[in-house]
């Protein structure tokens, strides 16, 4: 009885599927892309422009721009703010997320 859903007494609708680099993962209505990725055990989805270091959630509230990710071919979205929608194609990104 200690899952996040229990603690928040949340009763979300049925789960749907999104993809991360083509692999199907489950997401719940209301989850952000970051929450869905974390739930799937993914904590890093981008590498930095200079040294190629791994990045995922840092602030979690839209301020730090560390969690950038490509969603439906649009690079540099903040995973912590973008809601997940059924069928979203999420892709890990390198560098600027644009073709350098």
């Amino acid at each position: 009885m200690n899952s996040p859903l229990d603690l928040a007494d949340a009763h979300p609708g049925p789960a749907f599927t999104v993809t991360l680099d083509g692999r199907a993962i489950e997401a719940l209505p209301g989850q952000t892309v970051a929450a869905a990725l974390w739930t799937a055990g993914v904590t890093s989805w981008r590498t930095t422009r200079g040294a190629g270091r791994p990045r995922g959630i840092f602030c979690g509230i839209g301020v730090c721009y560390d969690c950038l990710v490509t969603v439906n071919n649009r690079p540099n979205q903040r995973a912590c703010l973008v809601p997940a929608h059924p069928g979203d194609a999420i892709r890990t990104q390198e560098g600027t997320g644009h073709d350098d």
Partner: protein, 393 residues
């Protein structure tokens, strides 16, 4: 906490100009202390784009100072500052500036302006037709041409100020607010009073930028520095799609204008870190820090007209700052004859990063009784009437 420090020169303001004054004064053999009520680069320095420009300046004392400053920046960039080449750590880029005309008439006016600048020592190359797109392949199609200024450069301003302070070896007191300028009975400067104690020095340099008028007032003199607000829009990081500092010819007229009303003209440039910076707005609204959607929207419209690809790029954030505006658009540099020992180095409006090195160099020459490389007379701090008439608003 109270302490009493003694030094040769105390500099008020740890922005770009204060840092450059500290560097050149220390190199002239003076013992320097810098104080700032906030952090290093906490004011206008941290809110700009880091431009070192000659292209936007008409012939005259400001252009002469910009040319001198440009040479000094290039020298500093080649120095080894303890962490590798200084130019690399402060992101110095001799990227060049490209001023773009939107009409044939505008191009003719721009070329006349460039002719005058060439006579004053500026390198300015005409750019016509296809050559424009060789320089900037992503510019909007159909533009008649422009002028290319290879002497225009850029630094990352917050880093530049911090590293110049570091390299200077000056003692730095941040979070230290100046509450008074101490005068001897004969009216000459004795030092400053701060919330952390007195600092005694025969020379006080007012490098407080947009707040320079307040420091002058502590010494009992007026200096008419006013805030001129500007916004910068920051895009997501991109590969190098904008190679130079690119701006529309209208920008020059906006910079030189005396109007308090909002003016925007597109200024677009890439940065070493990847984001594209989009300016430039000017308005005199006091120290109002409120975000303004109309201003930022106007910036975005102007930038996408110049570079259509930007319409598909995310703007991540915006920031704003307050340029230290002087009524005649010239900084105050040099000793204040009204208070012996008080020296001003402020009021550089939107050009303070670029003009900082020349300013620091002149201040150091004046403090060590050397003949300055430039005539400082046009920058005299007491050139304004003591009680200016109220402006029309």
């Amino acid at each position: 906490m109270s302490k009493r420090l003694t030094c040769d020169v105390v500099i008020v303001g740890a922005g770009m100009v204060g840092a450059a004054c500290a560097l050149y004064a220390a190199r002239a053999g003076l013992d320097v202390v810098i104080v700032d009520r906030g952090p290093v680069s906490g004011g206008t320095t941290g809110a700009g784009e880091g431009n070192l420009l000659v292209s936007d300046k008409e012939p005259g004392p400001e252009l002469d100072l910009a040319l001198l400053s440009g040479r000094l920046w290039a020298q500093l960039a080649e120095e080894l500052g303890g962490l590798g080449e200084l130019g690399e750590v402060i992101e110095y880029e001799a990227k060049g500036g490209l001023v773009v005309a939107s009409t044939p008439d505008g191009l003719a006016a721009l070329e006349r302006f460039a002719d005058e600048q060439r006579a004053a020592g500026v390198v300015a190359g005409p750019v016509q037709d296809g050559a424009l797109y060789d320089l900037e392949p992503h510019l909007a199609p159909g533009l008649p041409g422009g002028v290319y200024y290879p002497q225009d450069c850029q630094v990352m301003p917050a880093l530049a100020a911090a590293h110049l302070v570091r390299v200077s070896g000056a003692r730095l007191l941040t979070g230290c607010t100046v509450t008074d300028v101490l005068l001897k009975t004969d009216g000459t400067v004795q030092g400053i009073r701060t919330d952390r104690g007195d600092i005694l020095a025969p020379t006080v340099v007012n490098a407080a930028g947009t707040w320079g008028g307040e420091v002058a007032a502590l010494a009992g003199v007026t200096l008419p520095v006013l805030p001129r607000r500007g916004f910068v829009l920051v895009t997501e990081p991109l590969p190098r799609l904008v190679r130079h500092k690119v701006y529309a010819a209208d920008y020059v007229a906006d910079v030189a204008s005396d109007s308090a009303a909002l003016q925007t003209s597109p200024v677009v440039e890439g940065t070493a870190a990847g984001p594209v910076l989009i300016g430039a707005s000017r308005e005199r609204v006091g120290f109002d820090r409120e975000f303004s959607l109309p201003v930022v929207r106007a910036l975005a419209v102007g930038a996408t007209q110049l570079f259509p690809f930007l319409s598909d790029v995310h703007a991540m954030r915006s920031y704003l700052g307050f340029r230290p505006y002087m009524p005649d658009h010239l900084p105050a540099i040099g000793p204040d004859p009204r208070v012996p020992g008080l020296v001003h180095a402020c009021g550089h409006e939107g050009a303070g990063i670029g003009l900082a090195t020349g300013t620091g160099h002149l201040i150091a020459q004046l403090l060590s009784d050397k003949t300055p490389d430039l005539d400082p007379a046009p920058f005299r701090p007491d050139r304004f009437p003591e009680f200016p008439e109220e402006e029309d608003t």
